[in-house]
Each structure stands twice: as C-alpha cells, then as structure tokens.
Amino acid sequence: MSTERTVPVEARRFQGHRAGVVTRTAANVVDAAVAVAVVTGGYVAWCATRFLLQPAAFSFPAPPFLALLACWAGVLFVYFTASWATTGRTYGDHLLALRVVNFRGDRMSWPGAAVRSAFCLALPIGLYWAVVSATSRSLQDSILRTCVRYDWTSAGTRATEGSTHHV
C-alpha cells in the first residue's frame, strides 16, 4: 500500500508541497505554547522543590524576565532540535501536518537540526520571508536548504519526501 493512500482524499492535493506561512505560524504558536508549558512546569517543579526543602521560609521565586525568556528559548532549542532530528516534526508540526526535511528530502541530522533551531530562534522573523518567496521558503530554509512541507503521513518516507532539486 503506498503512503499516498494514507493521506485523506481532500488533502492529497497538498501532500508534499511546501507549507505556507499560515500553517507554519500556527505550528510555531503551538510549539511556543508547548515551550511555555514546559517552562511553567519547570517553574512549578522548582517551587515544589523549594517548598519541600524549606516549607517555613517558602515563597514563590521571582526570576527575572530575561532568565525566563532564556529558559524558554533553551527549551525551544532542545525541543526543535530533538523533534526535527528524530521525527522531523514538532507537536505543532504534527497538529498542522507539517514535516521538516533536509535538502535531500530526508530527516535532518542532529547538527543540521541544531543549526536550524538556533537560526530560527535567533531570527524568528525569517519565517515570514516565505510570504514573499516565490518558492514559499523561509529565510532559514533558503540558507540551510531545508524544507517545511505538508505531510499527512504518520512517518515520512523517501517516496513522499522532497527532491534534492526543489527544497
């Protein structure tokens, strides 16, 4: 059974095409929320630990905003890198049926995923280069020769992944 048949009929026209800015933004929002949830969870765990260690002198810590932002960015960096290097998709990508692949159409390597993750965090506005790009590529995609595309399959295969010439 080909992978194409696991794609819903109405979605087959999108399968394999590069995703646009709407879905990618939505996916990033979800991923950002995931990171916020992780940081929040970490904060709660930190508070719980402190409460258990010093219940009498307990008070909610008030970390500086930049520290929280750094933590959030760190979580996102690890989260993006691990997701793109293992499954090719974050949870946001999964919800929006997106997959990140390298210039060969394969799953990204760990270094490649780390570089792309850092690039995305350093210049998130680069995503919106896809709005004006004639090939719907973000700035990161254009420089790193990666691709974010629609993929309704549960596990992207080489047969449905992009070619080396158009990513």
Binding site: R5, T6, A11, R13, H17, G20, L96, G105, S133, S163
Partner: protein
C-alpha cells in the same frame, strides 16, 4: 518361435508312452464296437441331413422309415458281429495252444523256432517304428495343412459353429474357465511383459481422437444426458466432498494476486477515513479541518501576495520530483 511344420511333426512323433498290451480278443471286440459306433453316428448325421420322410396324402406314414431300415441293417450286422466274436473267442481257446505249440516245436533248436523268427520281426519293427513315425510326421507337416484347408473349405463353418453353440451352455463354460484361471497371475504376467505406457501412447497416436470425440458428441444429446445425470446426482454431496479435499486457502494464495486486489479495493475507498472513524486516532475531525483550513489559508495568502507583487507565475511549492516535472506544479493551480 518354432517352425509350424516342425511343431506339427513333433505332435505326431510325441506318442504316448506304451501301455500293457491287452488281450487280442478284447482289442478286436473294442475295435468292432468302435466301428459300430462310428457307423451309428454317420447314419444319424446322414439321416438328419435327408430329413424326415414326407407324410402320405392320407396323413399316414410309410410302413418302415429310413431310420428303421438303417437300424435293421446295422442291428443285423451287429448280431452277426457278436456271433462272429463268440465263435472267434471259442476258436481262440483252441487255436492259441496249438499256435503256441507250433511256435515252440519240441526238438527244434531255439534259434530255429518260429517264435524266434516272429520275435526278430517284432524287434525289427520296434526299431524301425520311430523312423517311420518321423516320416509320417514330416509328411503330415506338409500334407496336413492343405488337407485341413481342403476339408474346411467343404464345411459350412458358420453353421457348425452355430450347431456347437446350440449344444453348449456358454455361461457355464465361461464360468468354469474363469473359475479355473488365475486372473491375478495372468494380469500380472501381462502387465510385467508389456510396456503399457508405450502401448497406450501408440494407441492414442493411432487414434483420431478429435474425430472420435466429434462423432461421439454429434451422436449424443448432451443436454438430455446432462439433465438425466443431474437428476441422479447429489450435487451438494459432491461439492461438499470436493471442497473437503481442496485447500481453498492455499489455492487462493497461489492463484490470486491478493496485493493487487487489496490495492484495487483501497483505491476505491477512503481508508484513512475508515481508520480514523474506527480507531479514533489523534487526527480527529477537528484537527483535520484545522489542517485543511491552514493549508488553504497558506494558498490564499500566497495568492494575495503574488497579486500584490504582480507576479505572473504562481509559486512553485511542489517538493516532489515527479510532480515537479509536471507542467503545473504550483499549488495554486490545484485549488
């Protein structure tokens, strides 16, 4: 394979072993009885050939029929023979001692006795008899076939066979023969000595099977035959027996391209939809709608921007090589 002539001569030469010589009077009596028996049979055959005498105009038969006359003659001869036999037996009682005395006269040297001469004659004949019999065998081998052929030409064989068959109960004869035959041994001997496969192949090669089958089919009302057969046939039982012998699963696996059929069926149904409905996967209906709306939002934004930028060509968003080679690989063309 021995020469037929030689075989025939062997039959003649291969005489039975000599038996004790019977008394001459008994031999003569037996010979006479045999001759009368032959005469009786011959007369019976001859009279049967002539048929019964016709009745007179008044419906009365003649005073003495031919059979009666023949029996009178033969009976007279039989009486004369019996009388002659008795006289000869009586005379033998007297003559034999005289002959014995004459064959061994007293005071005559043994070498010169008549018995010695008779014995010499007998011995010579016994020595020469095998050669004579062999000569007869050679002669019979050459002469008998022609004689038998000539004799058979004079015989109405079909009539004789009919007569024989009228007097023979073939059922009893065949049953007796079959009972005495060891059919298993005969069949095994035949099968051991014959290459049945080669024989059947030769027969099949010589037969015009197509013509035979065509002739048979032309002469048979197949519809009626099949109807009659079906009336007497328990099709359910036959089918059940047949199915019990078959491994249908293995046959299907060997003969059917299941993968091709599965592909054909899957092409005709929306399998992902079925899977989603049955398993309740993560990709629920709401997620599906969100994905599709996001994708269509991408297309709408891209189209609007392209319009603002006065792009003549749509975006090239296809990342699949086979579709990229197609004339229209822009996502906008599909929408």
């Amino acid at each position: 394979m021995p020469d037929p002539a030689a075989r025939q001569s062997v039959i003649v030469v291969d005489l039975p072993a000599p038996v004790a010589s019977p008394d001459i009077t008994d031999t003569v009596a037996d010979t006479v009885r045999a001759c009368f028996g032959l005469v009786s049979i011959a007369l019976g055959v001859a009279l049967r050939a002539t048929g019964d005498p016709p009745a007179t105009a008044r419906g009365r038969r003649s005073l003495m029929s031919t059979v009666d006359v023949a029996d009178l003659v033969v009976g007279t001869a039989w009486g004369a023979a019996r009388l002659s036999g008795r006289l000869a037996a009586s005379a033998t009682r007297v003559v034999v001692p005289v002959c014995v005395a004459l064959s061994r006269p007293p005071l005559v040297p043994r070498r010169m006795q008549p018995e010695n001469g008779a014995r010499a004659i007998v011995d010579r004949w016994q020595r020469d008899r095998p050669e004579a019999v062999r000569s007869l065998g050679s002669w019979s081998a050459t002469a008998l076939p022609g004689a038998v052929t000539a004799a058979l030409n004079q015989v109405d064989m079909e009539r004789m066979v009919r007569i024989v068959l009228d007097h023979v109960d073939l059922d009893i004869v065949v049953a007796e023969v079959v009972q005495q035959l060891d059919l298993n041994r005969i069949v095994s001997t035949v099968t051991d000595g014959v290459d049945l496969t080669a024989a059947v192949e030769r027969v099949l090669a010589d037969l015009e099977l197509d013509q035979i089958v065509a002739t048979a089919v032309a002469g048979v009302d197949l519809d009626a035959a099949v109807s009659r057969a079906l009336e007497h046939l328990d099709i359910d039982a036959v089918a059940a027996q047949l199915l019990a012998r078959l491994d249908l699963t293995q046959i299907v696996l060997d003969q059917v391209d299941l993968l091709r059929i599965a592909d054909y069926v899957i092409d005709g149904i929306d399998l992902p939809e079925i899977i989603r409905d049955s398993t309740g996967s993560v990709a629920s209906e709401a997620v599906q709608v969100m994905r599709l709306q996001g994708a269509e939002g991408d297309v709408a934004v891209a189209r609007a921007v392209d319009r603002l930028l006065h792009r003549r060509r749509h975006r090239r968003t296809n990342s699949l090589p086979e579709q990229a080679a197609a004339p229209s690989d822009e996502l906008g063309d599909h929408l």
